[in-house]
Symmetry: C2
Subunit: 303 residues, 2 copies
C-alpha cells in the first residue's frame, strides 16, 4: 500500500490530439493532472484526483504508475475519457482548440480517499472553481494550497473563482488570464490588483518568456529554460506547476526564497515536458536529469 | 575643451512623431544616437557622430549637452534633420512606421574628429553597414566594437553586413532580426548560427521580455525591468545598448561577467527611457537613480 501522499493534485485527465507545425500525435495521454502529477512526482510523493472513462487504457495507467503516482483518487466512470484537440500555429506562439469533448468529465465530482485528506500540499489544477472548492473542503488544514484556472472560468464562474482565490496561498495564471481577471494591460499593474483579491502569492506564467512571482511587495522574475527545439508545448504550464509544488513539498518550506527555488525546478521540469508529446519525455528522465539542467539554468540566469 | 571620449557612438539623429494608444508627441528629439549617447553618458565620457539639418534646434543641442555628450562629431548639413513617424498598436506589442524622411541623412558620410580616433569603445548603432564600416576604419585599434543593425540592411545589404559582423566584438539584434538573419525560428538555434558568422558575442534584445547574451558556448538570459506603466518604448533598445557599452567602458573589462553586469545596467537605463517620450526621462534622472533601480532589479532576478 502506498504511503500517504504529501501532495494531492486534482485536475483533468485527457486524451489529446495535438498538431504542431512539424508533427502531430493522436490519443496522447494528457490533461492537467497527468502533467502536474508526473512533474511533482520527481520531488515528492503525489496523489492524483481525477476521472477516467471506461476506455482509459491499461497502458496509460502503467505510464502513470511508473512515476510512482498514487492513483487511489482516480475514479473510473461509465463513458469516454475527456478529449481535447488543438493545433499550434507557426512558432508555437498561439494555440487554437479545435474541439473539446467533456465526456465523463461532465459529471465529475471529486472525492478524496481518506489517506489524501491530510496532505499538506494541495494543487487545484484547472477545473471549475466550484469543484476546486469541493476538493479544498475535503482536506483538513493543508499547509499550502495552489490553484490554477482558465479564461473560461474567469468569464463564466467569476464569483466562484473569487471566493476560491481568497482561500489559496498561491494563485497561478498565465499572462492573458491575469489581464482578463484584473482588467489591466500591464502585468505588474495586473498583479498588484489580483494580489488584493487575497492570494498570498501570485505566479504569472508567460510561456517561452518565463514566469513572475509576486509575494507581498516582493517580485521575482525568471526566464524560461532556453530550449534549442520544442516538440510540443502542451502541458508545459501544468508541468511547471507540478514541479513547483513538488519541489516546495520536498523543501518543506514555503518562504519566498523557497518559492524561487521551486520555480526554478518547475521551469526546468517544464522544459523537459516540451521535448516530446504527452508525458513521454518526462517518462524517460530521472531526478538527476533535472538536477543537471537546474545547474545549467542557474548559470544562465546568474547576474 | 572636452576630454577625449572613451566611447564613440555613430547612428541616426532624428525628430520623431510618435503615437501610443494613450498619448502622442510630435518633433521629439530621437534617433538611435540620441538615446545611446544619453544612456552611455551616465557611465563614461561619450562622443557622438551624427548629422543634423539646419533646422536642428538649439534646444535639442542644449538637451544633449546637458548629458555631457561630446558633440564635436555632430555635423550640420544643409537641409532638414532626419524624421520618422511611428505608431504603437495596443499593448505596445507592435510598432508600425508611418513614414520616414531621410533628409540630410541621405548623404551622410561620418567623419571622426581626431580626438575620437583612439576611443577604446565603439558603438556602431543602426545605420547602413557600409557607413558603419567607414567609421570602424577611422578608429585605430579599438578595444571593443559593438554593432546594431535592422531588417532593412539584412534584406538589402547582406554582404556588407556579413563583412562587418566578422569585425565586431558584439553584435546586437532583436529577436525578429536574429530569425531573419539566421533563417532559424528558435532563438537559441538562430544564435548558434549567427555566432558562426564571427562575432565574439551576440546580444538578442526581446523588448519587454528582456535580452539574451551568447559568448562562445556560454549563455545569459536577463528579463526586462518590470515597469508598472510605459509611456513610450521608442529608443529602449538604443538606451539598452548605450547603457551596456557605457557600463562596459566604465568597468574597463569586457569579460562575460562584465558583459552580464553591463546588460543589467543597460536594461535599467532602458527602463527609464520608456517612462517618457524622447530622452526626457533620462534627462531628469542621475546616475544614483540608475544605481538604486539596479539594486531593486538584482533582487528581482536573484535565484
Amino acid at each position: 500500500m502506498p504511503a500517504k501522499p504529501k501532495i494531492v493534485i486534482v485536475g483533468s485527465l485527457a486524451y489529446d490530439n495535438v498538431a504542431t507545425p512539424y508533427a502531430a500525435r493522436k490519443n496522447a495521454l494528457g490533461g492537467s493532472v497527468s502533467y502536474a502529477c508526473a512533474a511533482a512526482s520527481f520531488f515528492s510523493p503525489c496523489g492524483m484526483v481525477a476521472v477516467a472513462g471506461t476506455d482509459f487504457a491499461a497502458g496509460s495507467i502503467r505510464k502513470l504508475r511508473k512515476f510512482g503516482i498514487d492513483l487511489r483518487g482516480l475514479q473510473t466512470a461509465k463513458g469516454k475519457t475527456f478529449r481535447w484537440s488543438g493545433v499550434y500555429e507557426k512558432d508555437f506562439n498561439s494555440r487554437r482548440t479545435l474541439w473539446t469533448k467533456l465526456n465523463v468529465f461532465q459529471s465529475f465530482l471529486p472525492e478524496l480517499p481518506r489517506d489524501y485528506r491530510r496532505a499538506p500540499f494541495l494543487f487545484l489544477a484547472n477545473i471549475a472553481p466550484a469543484l476546486q472548492a469541493h476538493v479544498l473542503e475535503q482536506v483538513s488544514r493543508p499547509e499550502f494550497v495552489m490553484a490554477d484556472t482558465m479564461d473560461l472560468w474567469i468569464n463564466t464562474a467569476r464569483a466562484d473563482l473569487l471566493k476560491l482565490i481568497r482561500k489559496v496561498d498561491l494563485l497561478l495564471l498565465n499572462d492573458s488570464e491575469a489581464m482578463l481577471l484584473s482588467g489591466e494591460r500591464h502585468l505588474v499593474a495586473a498583479a498588484r490588483r489580483i494580489m488584493k483579491l487575497g492570494p498570498r502569492h501570485l505566479v504569472i506564467k508567460k510561456g517561452e518568456h518565463g514566469s513572475m512571482l509576486f509575494s507581498g511587495k516582493e517580485m521575482f522574475i525568471l526566464p524560461a529554460f532556453p530550449l534549442q527545439s520544442v516538440i510540443d508545448p502542451t502541458g508545459a504550464g501544468d508541468s511547471f506547476a507540478g514541479g513547483l509544488i513538488g519541489h516546495l513539498a520536498a523543501q518543506g518550506k514555503t518562504s519566498p526564497a523557497a518559492l524561487r527555488r521551486a520555480m526554478v525546478h518547475g521551469t526546468v521540469t517544464a522544459s523537459f515536458a516540451c521535448e516530446d508529446f504527452s508525458i513521454d519525455r518526462l517518462s524517460s528522465i530521472r531526478r538527476a536529469s533535472i538536477k543537471k539542467r537546474v545547474g545549467e539554468f542557474l548559470k544562465i540566469v546568474k547576474t
